[in-house]
Symmetry: C2
C-alpha cells in the first residue's frame, strides 16, 4: 500500500507553484512556473533514484530499472500544466500518484521484472498553445514536431522558444521510446462516480469527440419596424439547431453527449434582429459509428432548417478524435486491483480526452478514475477526497505490478 | 409642391459632416461633428428667415411667424444625430424636409394663420448617451433635465459639458414651448411599405415597447465527462425561452414583435456546459394590453421552464414605452395630403420609437413614413429613393398647411 499522506503532501507542495488566491493553480504550459513545477517533480524523481530523459517536445521520462531491462517499461503518467483557472488535481494527481508508486517500491525494496517509468507530457491542456495533448500527440505521431514547435501563444511566443527558455528542449526523438503498457490515474472531471457512490472508476475507453463551428446567416434588421413574417432571424434558426444538439445526444445511447458551449451573435444589439450567429458544437459518443450517426442527424436537421427558413447554415468540422477503447488486459488489471484492495468500483468511460488516448494507440493502456467533488474540474475549486487520492494510487500500484511482474 | 432637388442636395450636404468611407454618417450626439451639423442647419434656417431659440437640453426651435402669432405653432422636426454606423436619412430627413417646407412657403410668399416651427431634438439615437430620445423626453417631462445632464459617454464626458462645448446649452426651459400640432417625416426603417409597393405610410401610432434582461443560471461543467441527465445546461433552457419570445409575438395580433438581439454565454468555452446565459428580450405590440399579454406569456413560460428543469430564470424589465396612438386629426391630415397629391399610401404603425412619441403626449401628432431600400436602417448602406424623399415632404407640407391654415 502506498503512503497516502506523502502523496497528499506532494500534491500540496506542487500546488504552491502557481497557486491562485481562490485555492486553485495557474501554471500554463511552458511558462516559467511550469518550468519550476517540472524542476520540482524531476528533483523528487532523482531523489527516488529514477533516471531522467527528456524528448524534443519536452516530455519527461523517469525510469526505475527492473530485473530485465530489455523488457519495455510499464509506464504511468499524465501532465502538470494547468488551465488558467485550474485546480490542484487535474493531471498533477496522475504524475504524483506515479511518483508515489516508485517511492513505495523503494520503501519496500521491491524489484520488478520489467522496468517502470513515470512520464509527464507537455501541454496537455491546450490553453496556452493548441492543439491539446501536444506532447503525447507528437510522441504518438498524430502531428509533427515542427507543427507543435510553431504553435504560438497570444503574445506570439513559440513552443520551441519557450521549451528552450525553461530548459526542457530535450534531445530524445519523440516516440523512440518503447512502452510495455501505460496506465494513467486521473480525477473523473465529471459527476458519475459521486452519483453512484463509488471510489474507483475502471475506465473502459474514451469517447470519440467531434468539434464543429456552426454559422447561421440571416439578415440584420431593426427589431421594431420589421414584422415577424419579413424577418430572417439568424438566432431563431440557430437556437433550433442548438436544441437539436442536445436532443440528438439522447437518441444515440447512454454515452451520447451534445454541448453548445460558445455562442457569438452579430451585431449583438438589443433592438437589432441578429444577422449572423456563430456557435460551437461538441458531440461525443462511445463508438465512431455512434458519432457518425450524430453527425448525420445534425446535418439532416441543418438541411431541413435551411429548406424551411431559407437561411444558410454552415457546419465545419474543426477537430475529430476517434473513440478509443482501452486494452482488455489493462482494464482487467485495474478491476483486479480495485477488487483485491476492496474498493467500491464501477466500469465507466472517460468523456474527456487524456494523454492515455494517444498511448492506447501505441501500447496496451488503461485508466483509473477517482471522484472529484461535485464533478467539478477546470475550476479553482476543484477538490478531491484524500482517501480517494490514496485509493486510486493503490489501484495504480497493483495494476502496474501485475503488468511488470515481481 | 416642394423643390425635390434642393431637399436632396441639403441631405447630401449635411451628410458630408461625419461621412464614413462606406457612404454612411457617424455624427454622434453632442460631438464636435454634431455641433458642425447643427451650425449648418441653423445657418440654413436663418437664411430662410426663421428665428432660432435653444432650450437647456439643446433642442433647437426655428420659427416662421404666422398671421396670428398668439396661436401655438404647427411644428415639425426630428433629429440630426446618427448611429456610429448610421445612414444619411434617419432623422436628418425629417429635419431637412421641415426646412424644405419653410423654404417652399417662402418661395411662394405664403403666410400661414398659425406660426410654423421646425425643431431638432438632442440625442434621439441614444448610442453615445442613454436614454434614447433624450431631448424630446426632457421636453415632455419623461425624466428630468438633471438626469439627462448627468448622463456620461464611455469616456465619462457628461451631456451638460458636451452641450456647452459645442455651444448648444440654451436658456429656454424645456417644455415651456407651446405646440399646436406636431408632424414628423421619417424613413420607415422597415420593409412594409416596400413589400406593399407604397410611397407613403400614414402612421397611425407607435408600438408599445418592453425591454427585458433575462438571466438563466445553471451549473458549468465539462462537456465530456458529464452525462446528459446530470447537466444543468443554462443555454439549453435559455434557447427554449428565446424560441418562445418569437412564438409569443405571433400569438398576439399582426403587430406583435419579439426579438432576442443580445446573448452572452458564460464561460463561453467550446467544451464547457454553459453555467449562465444572459440575453435581451425586445417585445412590442400595438396596445399596452397586448404588451401585457406578451409579458404574461413569457413569464408563464419562464416559470414552467424553472419547474421542469430546476434552473433559475430571472426576468428584469429594463425599459417600457407605452403604445402611442397618433391623433385622428393628424392621421387624417397625412392621409388627406397623400390622397390630394395622388401618392399610393397605406396606414401603418411605427415599430420604432421616435421623438413624435413624446410630442404626441403634449399635442396632436402624426407621422409620415417613406420606404427605405430593403428596409435597412441604422446601417451605412441605408438608402432612399429621391422621388420618395420628395413625396414625403410634399405630404408634410400639405398636412402642416391644413393644420396651420392659410
Ligand atoms: N481532460 C480534458 O479536459 N481534456 C480536454 C479535451 C476534452 O474536452 O476532452
Ligand atoms: N427609431 C429608432 O431607432 N428608435 C430607437 C428605439 C427603438 O428601438 O425603437
Amino acid at each position: 500500500r502506498i503512503h497516502g499522506e506523502r502523496l497528499w503532501q506532494s500534491l500540496m507542495d506542487l500546488a504552491r507553484i502557481g497557486a491562485t488566491p481562490k485555492g486553485g493553480v495557474c501554471r500554463l504550459a511552458l511558462s516559467e512556473l511550469d518550468g519550476q513545477g517540472r524542476d520540482l517533480v524531476v528533483g523528487w524523481a532523482r531523489e527516488a533514484g529514477l533516471s531522467v530523459t527528456i524528448d524534443q517536445i519536452g516530455n519527461v521520462f523517469m525510469r526505475r530499472p527492473g530485473r530485465n531491462n530489455s523488457l519495455p517499461p510499464i509506464m504511468t503518467g499524465s501532465h502538470i500544466d494547468t488551465q488558467p483557472t485550474g485546480g490542484k488535481f487535474d493531471g498533477n494527481y496522475g504524475v504524483l500518484a506515479g511518483l508515489e508508486v516508485m517511492r513505495t517500491l523503494n520503501d519496500h525494496g521491491i524489484q520488478t521484472e520489467a522496468p517502470m517509468e513515470l512520464a509527464f507530457w507537455t501541454n496537455e491542456e491546450g490553453s496556452r498553445f493548441v492543439p491539446v495533448m501536444m506532447g503525447s500527440g507528437v510522441f504518438r505521431g498524430a502531428f509533427t514536431l515542427e507543427h507543435a514547435y510553431a504553435a504560438t501563444d497570444v503574445d506570439g511566443k513559440t513552443v520551441k522558444d519557450e521549451l528552450q527558455k525553461i530548459g526542457y528542449l530535450g534531445d530524445e526523438v519523440p516516440g523512440q521510446h518503447p512502452i510495455g503498457a501505460y496506465f494513467e490515474t486521473h480525477i473523473e472531471q465529471g459527476p458519475v462516480l459521486e452519483d453512484h457512490g463509488k471510489t474507483i472508476g475502471i475506465v473502459t475507453g474514451v469517447l470519440g469527440i467531434r468539434w464543429y463551428d456552426c454559422t447561421v446567416t440571416g439578415m440584420e434588421a431593426h427589431a421594431g419596424p420589421t414584422p415577424m413574417h419579413l424577418r430572417r432571424d439568424a438566432l431563431q434558426v440557430a437556437t433550433r439547431l442548438m436544441q437539436e444538439v442536445v436532443a440528438c445526444a439522447g437518441r444515440h445511447g447512454p454515452e451520447g453527449r451534445g454541448t453548445v458551449g460558445m455562442v457569438q451573435v452579430f451585431p449583438n444589439s438589443r433592438n437589432v434582429i441578429p444577422g449572423q450567429v456563430k456557435f460551437s458544437i461538441d458531440m461525443r459518443n462511445a463508438s465512431d459509428a455512434a458519432c457518425d450517426a450524430m453527425d448525420a442527424d445534425i446535418r439532416a436537421v441543418a438541411e431541413r432548417l435551411t429548406r424551411e427558413t431559407g437561411l444558410a447554415i454552415r457546419l465545419d468540422l474543426v477537430s475529430a478524435y476517434p473513440a478509443q477503447p482501452f486494452h482488455p488486459d489493462c482494464v482487467e488489471a485495474v478491476a483486479h486491483g480495485a477488487r483485491t484492495l476492496g474498493y467500491s468500483a464501477m466500469r465507466c468511460v472517460s468523456g474527456a480526452g487524456h494523454d492515455a488516448v494517444y498511448m492506447a494507440q501505441l501500447a496496451p493502456a488503461g485508466m483509473v478514475f477517482i471522484p472529484c467533488k461535485d464533478g467539478i474540474s477546470h475550476n479553482e475549486i476543484e477538490d478531491a477526497d484524500p482517501a480517494h487520492i490514496a485509493a486510486g494510487c493503490n489501484v495504480l500500484l497493483h495494476a502496474m505490478l501485475e503488468r511488470a511482474g515481481v
